[in-house]
Symmetry: C2
Subunit: 378 residues, 2 copies
């Protein structure tokens, strides 16, 4: 591995690993949680506050950015980092997942996907080559291969066909990425394992990806409605099919207990809209479980959102104030709740990293989950 991308595993504890990814724009401590910055902003947060929570890397969405303001415009303005003033690593997804969940009038062929924008109905195409071009124009540090996120549930036959098309697309993604030589000398490319809930397909997918060769490997097609039990069943074997010495990224996951369980099973990277979206909707994540701040029981509570949290929100404001802001629809409510939630996620990751380094991750996870699940107020 070059200076461009280097993954060092510093300690393992059971299947869990902690380490660091070194890239030209900075280091990423793993296991890592990547806040989602969909449209060139982590919603309701200033980028310096995102960093202050401990985030080493954020995620940008190819689908949203290609539609607005467009990859070409971002490139003209100096790339995504300069545009949004985040100068550390950015991972961009391939657009495939959002095309399936947000656009309309979709047509999928071997070539790629054509679809209508959810913003203005305009027609667009995404292919492995175009996805690589868009991510290059954005100036992404970690580029994701273009794939089809197999819908759930899927029969073995459907899942196999979908996975094999994704593997052919992965090969085209590799070629497309490599053709952008200047960008390829600075960025990394991750492949995405598919195969739904089928062990043989997950294995086949991992083999095909490893043959092509990527800097890191994502586990795709989970957290799509299958539930935590079936997801953990897949995570009991799927990471093991992927190269030990490369980072493993579980896409779109998840709730705190999902992440803890996945780290125990050997996953290194995560992203999810949950802390930001929940924050805007008045839900906080705390060491004692989720808290719905709209609940009337908080209206005169002078205590902090999370008694164990050291974030600027918890050390400054009362639950009563946050309750008031959220009930009144004040933007500051969304700002503060989001800030706390991202801080909570980053603290959780730091706790996991420390525990793995010290060989006590099982006990740490149990204590964390006991407290988290014991205090839920729904």
């Amino acid at each position: 591995m070059s200076e461009r991308f280097k993954f060092e595993i510093k300690a393992t504890d059971g299947k869990a690993r902690t380490g660091v990814i070194r890239m030209l724009r900075g280091e990423i401590r793993t296991p890592a949680f990547m806040p989602v910055g969909t449209a060139a902003t982590v919603k309701a947060m200033r980028v310096e506050d995102v960093r202050a929570t401990g985030a080493d890397i954020i995620l940008g969405n190819t689908y949203h950015l290609m539609l607005r303001p467009s990859a070409e415009r971002v490139a003209k303005l100096g790339g995504l980092h300069r545009f949004m003033n985040w100068h550390r690593p950015i991972l961009t997804d391939s657009g495939g997942y959002q095309v399936m969940s947000l656009s309309s009038l979709r047509k999928i062929t071997e070539e790629g996907v054509s679809f209508a924008s959810h913003i203005d109905g305009s027609r667009h195409n995404l292919t492995p080559e175009r996805s690589m071009e868009i991510q290059r124009l954005l100036g992404s540090d970690i580029v994701m291969a273009f794939d089809e996120c197999t819908p759930h549930p899927a029969s073995h036959e459907v899942a196999g066909k979908s996975m094999r098309m994704s593997m052919r697309w992965a090969k085209r993604s590799r070629a497309g990425f490599d053709s952008g030589e200047e960008h390829a000398s600075r960025a990394a490319l991750f492949g995405i394992q598919q195969g739904s809930l089928y062990k043989d397909l997950r294995k086949e997918s991992a083999e095909r990806l490893t043959e092509i060769g990527f800097d890191g490997y994502a586990i795709g097609g989970l957290a799509v409605g299958e539930g935590q039990g079936p997801m953990f069943d897949v995570l009991d074997y799927a990471p093991g099919f992927l190269p030990q010495d490369r980072p493993r990224y579980l896409m779109g996951v998840g709730k705190p207990d999902d992440i803890v369980g996945a780290v125990l099973r050997g996953v290194d990277m995560f992203d999810c809209v949950l802390p930001t979206r929940s924050g805007r909707n008045g839900q906080a994540f705390t060491c004692e479980g989720p808290v719905n701040i709209r609940n009337a029981k908080h209206k005169e509570d002078s205590g902090p959102l999370d008694p164990s949290c050291s974030c600027p929100v918890c050390t400054t404001y009362s639950r009563a104030y946050l309750h008031h802001l959220v009930k009144a629809g004040e933007i500051l409510g969304a700002m503060l709740m989001t800030q706390h939630n991202i801080h909570f996620y980053q603290s959780m990751m730091q706790g996991l990293r420390d525990a793995i380094a010290e060989g006590r991750v099982e006990a740490h996870a149990k204590a964390f989950l006991d407290r988290y699940k014991g205090g839920q107020d729904g």
Copy 2:
């Protein structure tokens, strides 16, 4: 004057004055602009960022706070300063203006006003005594007398009757304020001049208020649709009726050119929702006039919002990025536009204070307005 409230005029230049109000919670440099923190938040801004713009004092709205979360609850939680984490002076209005503009099913009598909440239709009363009690419960530093903001236009007869009732209410406000001895030993009370556009009524109102005696005097009933010309006509004489050695506060004003003109006419304090509300709507105030960031001409503009501005928004982000955020409905757009606008207003006040201190306010005002009015893009 006690330590509680001391106004020192440091320099005059024509009718314009610059000085400082010293209160127990901090100093207020005049001429001062007070950002509006309606519901215990300056909308879309963190309170530390409000301070960083140079604001010495903010305004809270009695009407909004009495309805949600209620003055009693704020008191129980330690007062408005602790609730919202702003530990410098807060001026609270009396609620009279918002009752007239926001509530429904109003009934005005000599006793006061009864009305239905715009939030849930619940019925409430506001009287001079209750307004003083609410502002005391909030822990306000500068309390405003309860008055009727005479609607515009008003005949001389209607304006006179309305003004005289407000003067009787001013006397009751004084008594109500003084009865809260502990709070009165820490806070200040301002009277409000009424009289619509009639010079004799403005004079009579000022005399009645001065007879009662207040720490400062507001000029009320302007910026209610009469236009800048008639407002400036009143400001040519109305401030002169008020005591020279007390601060004069023009309520609810205004646009940058309104404020500059009022400072030249001897006004010391201002508040207005314009910089915050406009910010949320995509309008920026700049040294070259208002800028509508939604305008397509900004979509690839890599320059700052305001070329003369040193605020964190202008030194960090492009117009293209702000255009993108506002068009996409991102909360960060409202946050950054508001932050710039409040910074612009505070810089404008600092420029006026410096110019008055240096005896060059006429030339300063002309240069400011020439540039401001020359560059408007609508």
